[in-house]
Assembly symmetry: D2
């Protein structure tokens, strides 16, 4: 913890509000042999909407033909009309919600991807990032493959297409060429396939509804349709669901799982159970641990909504001070507003957040947030608290400083824009203008999850953002040429 002694001027650090959160790329869903396959998939994707709001797609199979609907925008806006669902004929379906960086969200990049293979159609969708995706893409192009999108999914579909043998063998052959993090759902004319990378970095669960199997990124997608949670797909597991039931394959050497710690800190919905662990309770425990490590002598605990809420509850329960809604969030935020003059320009953070003056004025408060990325939102929130009359504004982060970018499907800024990669604790505190600042320790994260601490020999989690310990090769990153993604731009 850094205790700030004097006033500080906020620097001219670029205030890119939109970049000041972590965003994950995608959620997946699949169901086999259910008469309402498409409608159930739409509901499942709606429950996974927090994993990607830019686009959504569903591919169904009716026994003869595959049907596809892919749309930019929310599931609830695009897949709620009867006409859309009725076009998605069939008893099996897979679906996908997508987040992506601006400019590349064109319709061609919306999953699931479909290809006609010899032997029939094949649709696939995935969550995660293939760290040798560009290298594989280059190799495939050099072998005469044609790419229509900038999605990693297309790489694996090509690898499947170029393999020989039965579909499952081809799929496994393809998986073995991949590095990185992925959870796949795929649909052929006979099978629904799920796969999770050897370390289980991204989540994938198995559920059941009316006796039919379901795959989904999180258990909340099972809950919305009243499906029963069976189990997590294991790290390195490939499951094949067909009219013969379910089969499980482990094509990789077995090793301990290392699920991504950020699912617990930020991504997963609080009511989901990820890798057998309750997300909400884990977040509360992180807040409690944070309170033990860095208690604040304050009058009120204020969560930064909505992501800081569970940790703030835990923090408040631990130190026994009142938890109050000191910041109100506006959920009707649409596109970015224009900012015609200096007087209006400063309003950015108020579009989403406003100070609830009555619980702040004249109080010593501590703000609890789940993580700190660029710090640009934090600056504005601290200032807003002071303008609302807070006597002291302390800041506590329920996770360690993010010092390294992610390459497994989380949209982090590059290292230069990670506040903790370029500032020490004191500088960070001064940057955001708080009276004090503290982070949860790395071991604190592990303790919150019931471990004694991080096992340096065999870390239990994928935690490179805090430690730099990347659990897989980063082939594309280490290749010398800059990662060119596509030669084509297309607005849509």
């Amino acid at each position: 913890m850094y205790q700030r002694s004097g006033a500080c001027e906020s620097s001219d650090f670029d205030l890119d509000l939109d970049g000041d959160t972590l965003r994950e790329e995608c959620g997946v869903f699949g169901i086999f042999n259910h008469p309402d396959a498409a409608a159930i998939t739409a509901l499942g994707l709606h429950a996974l909407q927090h994993r990607g709001q830019e686009a959504a797609g569903i591919v169904s199979f009716d026994g003869k033909v595959f049907h596809s609907e892919r749309k930019l925008g929310l599931v609830g806006d695009n897949f709620s009309r009867r006409s859309v669902i009725e076009r998605l004929v069939g008893d099996s379906a897979i679906g996908h919600v997508r987040y992506s960086t601006t400019g590349e969200t064109i319709l061609r990049n919306v999953q699931p991807l479909f290809a006609e293979l010899e032997g029939g159609g094949f649709a696939a969708a995935h969550n995660g990032n293939i760290t040798n995706g560009l290298s594989l893409r280059r190799q495939l192009i050099s072998d005469g493959a044609i790419f229509q999108s900038t999605m990693d999914s297309e790489v694996i579909v090509h690898l499947v297409a170029r393999s020989r043998g039965k579909l499952l063998d081809r799929f496994i052959t393809a998986l073995k060429q991949l590095e990185g993090a992925y959870s796949f759902v795929a649909l052929s004319n006979k099978k629904l396939i799920g796969a999770r990378d050897p370390l289980g970095i991204r989540p994938l669960v198995l559920g059941e509804l009316d006796g039919r199997y379901i795959l989904a990124s999180e258990t909340c997608a099972l809950d919305i349709i009243g499906a029963r949670f069976i189990r997590d797909i294991e790290n390195g597991e490939v499951v094949v669901i067909s009219s013969d039931g379910i089969e499980s394959f482990f094509p990789f050497p077995r090793q301990p799982a290392r699920p991504c710690v950020f699912e617990y800190i930020y991504f997963a919905r609080p009511d989901s159970i990820v890798n057998g662990r309750d997300v909400y309770q884990t977040r509360k425990a992180m807040g409690q641990q944070l309170a033990k490590e860095a208690p604040a002598d304050v009058d009120v605990i204020v969560p930064v909504p909505d992501s800081g809420v569970p940790a703030a509850l835990g923090y408040a329960q631990q130190i026994g001070k009142p938890y109050e809604l000191g910041i109100i969030r506006n959920h009707y935020v649409g596109r970015t507003f224009i900012q015609p003059t200096q007087s209006v320009r400063e309003l950015g953070v108020r579009m989403k957040h406003s100070a609830n003056r009555s619980v702040i004025e004249g109080k010593r408060i501590v703000l609890i947030d789940d993580s700190l990325v660029r710090g640009t939102t934090s600056i504005k929130i601290v200032r807003m608290m002071r303008e609302a009359g807070a006597k002291e504004v302390h800041f506590r982060i329920a996770s360690p400083p993010i010092t390294h970018p992610d390459y497994y499907g989380i949209d982090t800024p590059n290292k230069d824009n990670l506040l903790a990669a370029t500032h020490n604790l004191q500088e960070m505190c001064e940057f955001i203008g708080a009276d004090s600042l503290a982070f949860l320790s790395v071991d604190g994260i592990y303790k919150s999850m019931g471990y004694e601490g991080r096992d340096p020999k065999q870390p239990q989690l994928t935690d490179h953002c805090f430690t730099g310990d990347y659990p897989t090769p980063l082939t594309d990153v280490s290749s010398l040429t800059p990662p060119h993604k596509s030669l084509l731009t297309e607005a849509n």
Copy 2:
């Protein structure tokens, strides 16, 4: 409080989820003589979006010509593009956000309304409901007036158009013919006018930014733009803002105000200050009072999000039991999903809410909600809690039973569909399937707000929904003919 002794079957009461909330019609905003009038109005309307999500409109005046943009949908989606704001030329503007019942939200019904009067243009927008609006409309039609919309605003514009004298006199002449609840903002080629009904049922505040005056439904619309709150417009007050400054008129006999209690219970944003009273603290106090009147012997306090959150915090602080997020709300809800089969049909409530099993399972819980209208959502939430393993599910409502419909701008169902109008406490408890049910008393409401209780001779609030004590005549309701609204249908 009713303590339930045995199991009950939920009836076949029609489960119209969408009708199971209270919704208010509209928020208003106005600013005079500011170079960013339209952009500021858009921001102000964005902060008032909770008062109406179906449509929004802004009229600006550039010294010569009025400019209008009216759109179906959210402010953030329609008024964020620079091109739209740039078309709204001028230093003065008024704006409006609207909620309305389905089918009549066509563009012609979106406010502000504009008319060319002798002497120049006149734009007006209002929040509330004129209880003799249809009677006035019939009289005006019989006098040769032409109506283009079904909005009450058009009635007052006609009344102004047909009056004689200076604009302010004409406006006051018009106001004097109105019954019911209203807060008006109006813009002429010289003035910005605000008016609040004689009882001050609907809110309206005065603010200031860069030395220029602002009118808005709530203080949160001042906060978003960094404006200073000056004071509430008083009940029965007409304010006229012009280049000469601000003037105040009281054309009605002075009487004590009776603001609508529902602004505190449900409508206003928690960070607003309404009639000098902090909304968030009032809601917490209602929760505390509820805990005193009807404590529940439970393990966990669970708010029904988002409206039940402050009361639940107050309730939890009062009884000293943990407050936990036992229900997770999905904020990405778009249009209603289709429901192809019985198995999917039951999912309604899960679109918005899901159970957070880890804080519910095996626990005795109490659900805190702000109000109970039809009870159809409550049924589903109680059932969801039980399915998530709650040992006991108690229900507490931080307001009294709603036994009478509103006619002042709140969209309540008719009496037959108000659960408390047709069921006694025991029946309500059995209907929603809770183990016990209790409401805040009417006096409890008043106590939460610092009164000793309701003054039956001179009630301090408009509270007819709980008491049947309507504070104004209800001319349209009591007229024998059914309230025909329009002979024209038009989809848009």
Copy 3:
């Protein structure tokens, strides 16, 4: 005729191509008591689409309620879907197609206009222009009327609304206050009404289908639905169609008709019969008369498509030289193309027209057009002909020089932009760059229509564009204040 002797430079006269045609505002249609009222009205409007392409609207009446659909764009794009027609329930309907100047085509300005009057709903649509419309509007505003549009139709609806007595009496009372040109169709809950101005300037015909009456601007709207043409509505006639049959009223002093000559020259479809006179044969006769008055010693007759085609056929038949398609018209013209550089900027006219080189190269040609307005298109066409190798390019116009603007519903530029108002024949010829130029004489127009010539005491046609002889008062034009149209702008 002017014979050009030397080369001339085209001036820098502003080349506003889009303004270089005459465009009429509107076509109307109505049908009473037919089970397919809305579908038939849509078809009728489609046949009248040449009278207005910017917007279309239909109002139907189902015995209880009026239904309205009003759309920007083509009839075929907006009224072809079953769902739209099905919303227009009822056995009676009126419809309208609209042309208007840019910027004011917002949805509120699309006809038919509807108003609730005492006694029931009333919808009206009209073709033409009320020359005292603004004066009436000012008077009505001063009397407290509210206007929602800038349409003249709204004036008459207000006049009806403020009259007393039975609907027909009120309608006639209203008509008597109007000056100018109009053909009305109106629909009440009992009647379909048609009316034509005292001089019959704009057309209106009566037809019959399956024993039910129809009103339409032109006979081509009867032909498309297989209806029988009964007769023209007479000048100054009001017809009332109800379940009692049809009645005819003549509320004005009887006088000879003076239909607009431009219906024959340009507006009406060639297959229509207007005021008992076949349009196609009349146009051919104008071409023949032009050939008699101004024969050209050429190899080929080339029409400027499509409007010059019938006159060119008549011209060719008269002088016995071949008629050839020397100019090809592209019918797929959408919005205006961008013009990024000088090299591309000159392409304007080629978007719509291209030279058919094989019939032009090395030939002496005469171009036949129906009229000459600004001359800006003619410049480009002449130049295009020369670039395609024409040896000589003569120009003949099958109507007299337009020296005066119209005020009866034709969108002419103001006097300064009428080429013939500011240039003599020689100057015009040099302006457009032709080798010779000639117009049909005013008497020639009358001869083409079977008269001996124009009767100066009692002209048989409304022909002020050529003669300055406006047949009605022009109250709005002669009033000193500039014709302000609206204080409100609204994009839509």
Copy 4:
């Protein structure tokens, strides 16, 4: 000619109006090294719009990156906005307009197609049809290729991607595997390539503007931008345009060209010059030859607009009888109208065509059309002429009977729906209800084009629709399995 002697009943042959025309799939355009590449391409495509109205696309290259815009709808609607053109950065561009059968016009099927190859990006667009496209597709899929569309263009891009060597060699290697008709334009990061099939079935021309080369399907696309026509690309020629200039390759054994006769009869714009032959004059000559072969003793010659106009002019000039516009065409046709009842159902043909009664009534007329496909429109037009009072209605077709379907890019119905494939002349005449019917002879076609007649040993044209003489193998047609098109459906 068949002279009809008695009355005949029109059969119940299915009246599918929309299928009663010939439609070609596509036009192409390309320009190299011009600062206005995208704008010029948009204009060129606009001039080629008659070759495909369903979709259009442009790909540009800016020296580093390719940019793509592909849209459903007209060029003028989608490529006229500055913002679209400005996104298409670069000095080189290719474009495409597309016609396709309903249901498959989804955005993924819109050309040009783009792929990243080893060595850089590659975009291609083509006009025509590959008669072994499905066979090649099956082979490629079996070799692991992934297809994203149902377009033949994708086949050739795959063939290029899988070839080795320099791009040009790869492209030629790919071409050599194709059968059928094609004109290609392709754009790499260094070159603009054009190619025409060995027989030159589909057209392609070379032009020049400001010293830069242009490729286009027809000369009318050169005219619109003021470009100079250089020459036709020869049959079997591949041209390569780069910063080094233009090079020409002939990778196939040289053989005489056999251009498609339908370009002259129907497809090409009348002002185009196709294979050195003027289209308008050729059509007129066909009409003249038709008049020699099958003169009609009539009062008036009436073209079926717009395609029958030049032949009708030629016919009229030959027999010396007046040419009159007896049928008026409505150019505002949007989507198909609904047809609610029998009384309205018969109106189909009147949506597009109406009788011009004054030139038909009491007259013996001959209708001239360019071709006869299903005959369903002809039935309605003949009936319309009789209803308009024609004394006799003769029908002459300025091309021979179509007895065989096309497989080279023209959308003909299958053989069962070609009227001339299933009816003899007498039956056809009775089917359409004409008093006489005659077609131009096959030799007559050749005579109209300056030949003595068809050379049976070495036919000068591709004319299989009349003769069954298909000039290339039809591998896909003769393969036993039905031509499956795709396993995926996707609405868009």
